[in-house]
Structure formats: C-alpha cells, structure tokens
C-alpha cells in the first residue's frame, strides 16, 4: 500500500502500462490511505465503490489496449466541480444534499482520459477563504506540522482538501480552482505543485461559480510533470462556456525538462512586501540563482500597481459573487427555510444556508454595486484592473516569465487569522494579480523554513504560454531537489 500511494502520477501510469500492478490494486491502496487519513478531513465524501468500478473498467480497457492518457489513475475532486449522481456542496449548507444531474466539463475530460474518482474534497465555502476554515464541513488539517509544535496548521485555501490530499498521498492528483490564489497558496502550504492556467483554458461549465471573470480550474499534483499531465486533460474548448478559449492544447508534459537557457526571467521589485519572513526572501534569491545557473537572464521589472490588486479584487470578486449567488433562493434546489412571505423565505433561506464569510462578501458585493456607489467602487476597480493588466503587458516586453514567492508566509495555525478578514485576504497578495490579468501562474515547493514547513515559489507566464511556465518550473524543481514529505501523524 505505502509503495503504491507514494508513486507520482507519472510513475503510477508507467507502472500500470508495464503491468506491474492493476488500477484496482492502485485504487484500493488509495482508498485505504483515505480511510486512515480521516483526521485530516480532506475528503468530505468518499466514493470507494464508484472508484473500484471505474478502476475495474480501466483494467478492462487496458487489457484491450484501449487505455487513455490517465487510465487507471485515482484522483480527488474539489467539491466545487459538479459530479453526476455524486453529492456536490461547495462546502455550503445552502446546497444541502445537491446531487448534480450532469458532470462538469473538466471532470468529464478526466474520466474520458481514464482517470478514477476517489471522492470529493473539502474547500472553503464557495471557494471563499484562504485557510479552509469557512467550510461547512470544518477545516482541513495540513498533513505538515511544525518541528517545534504539534498544533494543527491550515493547508491553505480555498483548495485545502485538494492540497492536503495530494501532500498526504491520498490521491495521485486533484482538481482545484483558483479565483485569487486558491490553487497556488494551498500548494505552497503543503509542498505540492499547483497551476492556474490562462483564463479560458479550462471550461467553467459545471463548476460552482464564485467570480466568473476570475475563476479558473487547474490541478494540484506531486510534481511539475504530473501537473502538466493533468492540465493537458483538463484544458480544451467548450461551447458551453462562452469564455472558453478555442485554442489548441499542447501536451504540456513535453515542456517539462526543456532547456530554459537564454530565457529572460523578470523579478518584480514590488513583490518585496513589509514583514515578509527573511526565509522567503532567501528562497526567492535561491530561485534566482537556480535560474541563472540554468542559463536564464535575470531582469528587474516593475509592476507598479501590485499593491492595488487585492483591494481591486475585493470589489470585483464580491460584486460578481453577489450576482452569481443570487441563484440560491431555495426554490429550485438546495435548502429552503420557513417564512411568513416570499421575501422572508428568501432571507431566511440565505441567512441559514450561507456561512459568515460568504454573507460578508455578498454584502460587500451588493454594496459596491448599489445605486450611488457603482462608479466609485465597481467601475473604479475595473479601471485599476486594467492598470494591473497593463503592468504585465509592459513587463512582457522585457521578460519571458516572472518569478515571485507564492505566499507571504508558511502555513499558519488554524484559528490564527480567522477573526481578521484583511489579514486573511493578504495571503493572496502575490497570487491575485494573475487572476485579475488572466495569466497562468504555477506554484512549486522550493524549500523548507526553520520549522520544517514547505515554502513555494511562483512562476507567472504570458497568456497561453503555460509551456514556458512548465519548462521553468521543471528546471527549478530539479535545482531545488525538494523531496521532503509530511511525517505521518494521522
């Protein structure tokens, strides 16, 4: 069991192809690991029977030499992706026992390519949060612990379940989504690799909406190559999403291992923020050295509007959320509360169904869109958003990719930031700019801090240039030689 679950996705696919083990054996090993890891609270719904039947079907396909690129690989699915016939909640009580009658495009592509679904993964409610603590199912606990304390740490958020499950070897990879950093910050906190592709690469159809102009799906994986393999399956044009890009999807794994000699890497001076731990500064400097050694040219760049990205995000995202979440009215699906009249039923339904952070964001969104404030807040934020996108356009004249830290700290203790919304929002200070500009961003583990906790570096690429991002990440992964794992305590 331990051997099979410690494989990378690539290693497992090679083993399946070589006939070293079957998908049923591989899947069984993961099901046992999930059962043993319930204290982590990463999976909020385990679907072992479903998984074993998919695994058996995969073994049958392989016997006929009809296997797809992911055939037999057991994966976890963030509970924001609708899965046909399998409860999907966005970790909110308002969806209750929602059983989708359709499959999200992204997950349908994974199953098309032969992957096996192990179950649904915990997240911050409606993907609103940076610590997984807003989940109606309770927080996920990070498999990593500080060497100086046993206190439970956050795996980050919103894709905390996805990141923790991959880090703890409960699945070979997982789907995730990223609206302001929800793939990359959890990846950094758990020593895993996560990529948010260019906006429009992955279809949003069947993914519970948070902020539609920012939401993008992507994988969390054990290695850069695994992330590339998964992303290749997840991307592709979908007529059911009007913002889905009709562009060719390359085999991203072919970019991993390519030489990055001669590439120009931008280092944005504005990403040196106050109170950033010296260890993160040091790691960033290490990353720059690795890229120099690989033959890259390092270029200092300026992204002058960086500090305005989070405030702009906290207008744009809540505004879109207040509109998207208007659909939860208790009439067509989900929770319906009692009330004396229709308005009261709506109000009680939403008061009972939504968690505090979701209500807070809906209220902010409603406020900034309300009469008299629309121009001052919403329109202003959209203009600042263009300024931020223009910063990157200018930067691309001087560099081919950008290197930054992923998050301003290592994983923090559960409960530490939960009473201070702005402190929590600052987790996304380095990641949110790429959502606003629609750019691809990847986080990879690059080292450990003094407490033995993983730290991540982020690579930002030009629109649709995930290939270069993967090449740079592959070279950095090799140079970093990061192979630490969370010591098992669960």
């Amino acid at each position: 069991m331990s051997v099979l679950t410690s494989l990378t996705l690539k290693g497992a696919l090679d083993g399946l192809n070589a006939g070293d083990f079957t998908s049923v054996e591989l899947t069984t090993a993961h099901i046992e690991a999930i059962e043993a890891a319930r204290p982590l609270n990463a999976f909020i719904l385990e679907t072992p029977e479903h998984a074993l039947s998919m695994a058996a079907a995969s073994d049958a396909r392989r016997a006929l030499d009809l296997q797809g690129p992911l055939d037999g690989a057991p994966l976890g699915v963030k509970d924001l992706f609708c899965t046909k016939g399998v409860r999907t909640t966005a970790c909110s009580n308002i969806l209750g026992n929602f059983i989708p009658q359709y499959e999200s495009t992204v997950t349908s592509q994974l199953w098309r390519d032969g992957a096996v679904m192990l179950g649904k993964l915990n997240l911050d409610q409606f993907a609103m949060g940076s610590s997984n603590e807003t989940s109606a199912f309770g927080p996920v606990t990070n498999p990593w612990r500080s060497t100086s304390s046993n206190k439970p740490l956050t795996p980050g958020g919103s894709s905390g379940g996805s990141a923790a499950a991959v880090a703890a070897d409960l699945c070979l990879g997982a789907t995730a989504t990223d609206t302001g950093g929800s793939i990359r910050q959890p990846a950094a906190f758990t020593g895993t690799v996560g990529i948010k592709p260019t906006y429009g690469r992955c279809s949003r159809w069947g993914v519970v909406a948070f902020a539609s102009s920012l939401d993008q799906a992507g994988p969390i994986a054990k290695t850069v190559e695994d992330a590339a393999i998964l992303l290749t399956s997840m991307c592709g044009h979908d007529p059911k999403d009007s913002t889905s890009l009709d562009v060719e999807v390359p085999d991203f794994s072919l970019y991993v291992g390519k030489s990055i000699k001669g590439l120009r890497i931008g280092i944005p001076k504005e990403y040196r923020v106050d109170n950033m731990p010296a260890e993160i500064e040091k790691l960033w400097a290490d990353g720059i050295e690795w890229l120099k050694e690989a033959g890259c040219e390092i270029v200092e760049i300026s992204l002058p509007h960086t500090k305005y990205a989070l405030p702009a995000y906290y207008i744009v995202a809540p505004a879109e959320a207040s509109s998207n979440l208007a659909r939860y009215d208790g009439m067509r699906y989900g929770h319906r509360a009692q009330g004396a009249n229709l308005t009261e039923i709506y109000e009680n339904t939403r008061a009972e169904g939504f968690g505090d952070e979701v209500k807070r964001r809906i209220m902010i969104g409603t406020y900034v869109l309300s009469a008299g404030y629309y121009d001052a807040y919403y329109l202003k934020a959209l203009k600042v958003r263009r300024r931020i996108a223009e910063d990157f356009d200018k930067a691309w004249e001087r560099c081919d990719a950008i290197l930054t830290p992923t998050a301003p700290s290592a994983a923090f203790g559960l409960g530490e930031n939960s009473n201070d919304p702005i402190a929590m929002y600052l987790n996304d200070v380095f990641t949110v700019t790429t959502n606003l500009a629609g750019l691809p961003g990847l986080s990879l583990p690059a080292g450990l801090d003094a407490n033995g906790l993983p730290l991540g570096l982020q690579i930002i690429g030009k629109p649709l240039d995930e290939g270069t991002v993967f090449s740079v990440a592959g070279a950095m992964e090799k140079a970093a030689g990061f192979n630490a794992k969370a010591a098992r305590w669960w």
Binding site: I99, P239, L245, P311, Y314, R332, K359, M363, R385, I422
Partner: protein
C-alpha cells in the same frame, strides 16, 4: 464613506439575507474595516482608462440557434425542495 447601521440593513435587504437587528452594528464595523482598506484605490490615477471587464480578447461567440439540451423536467426538478409532476412548487407569490 462610513457604513452605518441603516446602510447595513438596506444592503442585507437588497441581498436577501436576514440579519438580526443586534448583529447590524458589528457588521457595520466589519464592513467599514474592509471598505476603508479598499479606499486606497482612490490613489490610482485612472483618468481615461477603460474598465477591464474581460481578459478574454474575443467577443461573445455565436452558435446555431437550435435546442442543445432541455426538455427533461425530471432532471431539472430532481433537486427541488418541493416538486410535483415535473413542476417546481413555490410559495404563493401573488396575493
């Protein structure tokens, strides 16, 4: 700017979220904290800048005007809190 209790009450009503009267003061403080932090956007010169509504360059795609899916009442009402014979059952709307 300052969001007062009356504003919170109004916004909660617009958002159709029941907030008990005794929560409004705390909510006003919370929202004020966030909005004050957001105020720094005023520092950015955005004169003559077009608002960025979409990072996807292309315009809205068109498709053939044909039925793609639908016509399945059982599927549509599957998750309804109340339904009868493929219809949603909702509270009385018109008195």
């Amino acid at each position: 700017m300052a969001i007062d209790v009356a504003t919170v009450r109004k916004v909660a009503r617009l958002a159709r979220i029941a907030e008990p009267e005794e929560r409004l003061e705390a909510l006003a403080q919370e929202l004020n904290g966030i909005m004050t932090w957001i105020e720094q956007l005023a520092e950015v010169d955005t004169d003559g800048v077009e608002p960025l509504t979409s990072v996807v360059g292309a315009g809205a795609p068109l498709r053939e005007d044909v039925v793609t899916m639908g016509g399945d009442a059982e599927m549509i009402t599957f998750n309804a809190p109340k339904s009868i014979d493929g219809f949603f059952v909702v509270p009385k709307v018109v008195e």
